[in-house]
Symmetry: C2
Subunit: 255 residues, 2 copies
């Protein structure tokens, strides 16, 4: 079993060498810019799940990269003035500051479609189907976020963050060819990851759950989500030590 | 063989009843708005090609709808102030005028991913793969359009318009399970359609090829593309009368 750090290095090497569609021409530059940096948590979860489920992590690299491309797409579009209007991302100027709004808009579109191209390199359409469903859920979450419509914080985060985290586990299950009848405990694990990530994010940023519950109660809430994730792993007859290490890391992360 | 009008009605009925992903919530309203109107040329080409190639046109409806959703996505994003800044589309306020820029941006994203969801309802991933490649080409064409980089009008139109027209034929071939070894003449036909459409578009709008060649020479250029399309159909051992009618209609269209 490879440790999260080794899986992160595998992801970075794959993304650095990733060939984008030649017809994109010089548009590729903004897409690569938007793809740099980031913690690659979704990719690492995908690779670790694939390995725990019996696959070679290398076989899950296109799926892991697809998840990171969808995540990068969502950041580029969310940062645009029409949505969150953020000038900085991952410690650098946002894509629209670096390249202008038009190119950034197209960069997001391009990253999204390249993600599907990657998910579609597998012989089965199941990965791309799950990626589409998760991305549509994310978009619904972003809609709730900007409109405040039906502003239920749990539902907003389940969609905006949770759907892609859950898909990070789900795509790995298809790579490892885990039969659908055996996927439930893995998916229960995946459902908790996004919530855990988001609560800790809110504590670090001092908003969302930290504002609503207070920092200490939010930290308790994160520990409970981590405990549910560990219990879901208990129900899986496989070596899930690396997935446990990822859960432990998500609870105590400081960036 | 059903006439183009009958195929258009089939398309409109399918799109009117199309269920979008529930998790999109009220975001669906802007997506339906952006999907209304339009000539549905890509859908009709897809359905007519599928029927000519031996499939039931109804079987090609999800593919035809996917093409129209990708087209609608591209219009919504292209109309945004960051790109073409068009306030009107299909005789009505553009999506960002009707719903605001943020919602319009998400509507385009949602239409794009719903298109993949539709293409992925088929058992084979080949349709979604071709849709991804065509959409990436379109994005590359839009990049050339806004940057004027390597401003080669043929290449720009081949990408921005031609790739999705060609995919309208290509997706139908997968629906009809035409073996790859027999696809070449069909695809030669599809390659001419986008060019034919674009030249006539430029004549009607008084720009592009009409500006570069003059109106009469542009009309000749359109007739030549139509003739090449007909010759490609001559090489196909199937009843292609409806496809011929579509070519004839594209040459003389006035809207």
């Amino acid at each position: 079993m490879r440790a999260p750090d080794a899986l992160l290095r595998l992801t970075e090497a794959y993304l650095a060498d990733l060939a984008l569609t030649p017809e994109l021409g010089a548009q590729q530059e903004s897409m690569r810019y938007a793809l740099e940096g980031g913690k690659r948590i979704r990719a690492v979860i995908c690779l670790a799940t694939a390995e725990a489920a019996g696959a070679d992590p290398e076989a899950a690299l296109p799926a892991a990269a697809a998840l990171e491309l969808v995540h990068a797409f969502s950041l580029v579009h969310d940062d645009l003035p029409a949505l969150d209007d953020d000038d900085e991302r991952r410690g650098r100027p946002s894509a629209h500051i670096a390249f202008g709004e038009g190119i950034a808009l197209l960069a997001g579109d391009g990253l999204l479609v390249e993600a599907f191209r990657l998910a579609l390199t597998y012989p089965t359409p199941t990965l791309a189907r799950e990626l589409a469903d998760a991305t549509l859920g994310m978009i619904g979450g972003q809609y709730l976020d900007i409109t405040g419509a039906d502003a239920d914080l749990e539902e907003l985060h389940r969609l905006k963050t949770g759907r892609l985290f859950a898909a990070s586990v789900g795509l790995a299950l298809w790579v490892a060819e885990v039969p659908e009848a055996e996927q439930a405990p893995w998916r229960a694990f995946g459902e908790e990851l996004g919530l855990l990530f988001q609560i800790v994010d809110d504590v670090l940023d001092g908003d969302g759950y930290a504002t609503r519950l207070g920092v200490e109660a939010a930290r308790d809430f994160a520990r409970e989500a981590a405990e549910r994730a560990r219990r879901a792993l208990d129900a899986i007859a496989a070596d899930t030590t690396v997935l446990r290490a990822i859960v432990d890391g998500l609870v105590v992360r400081t960036t």
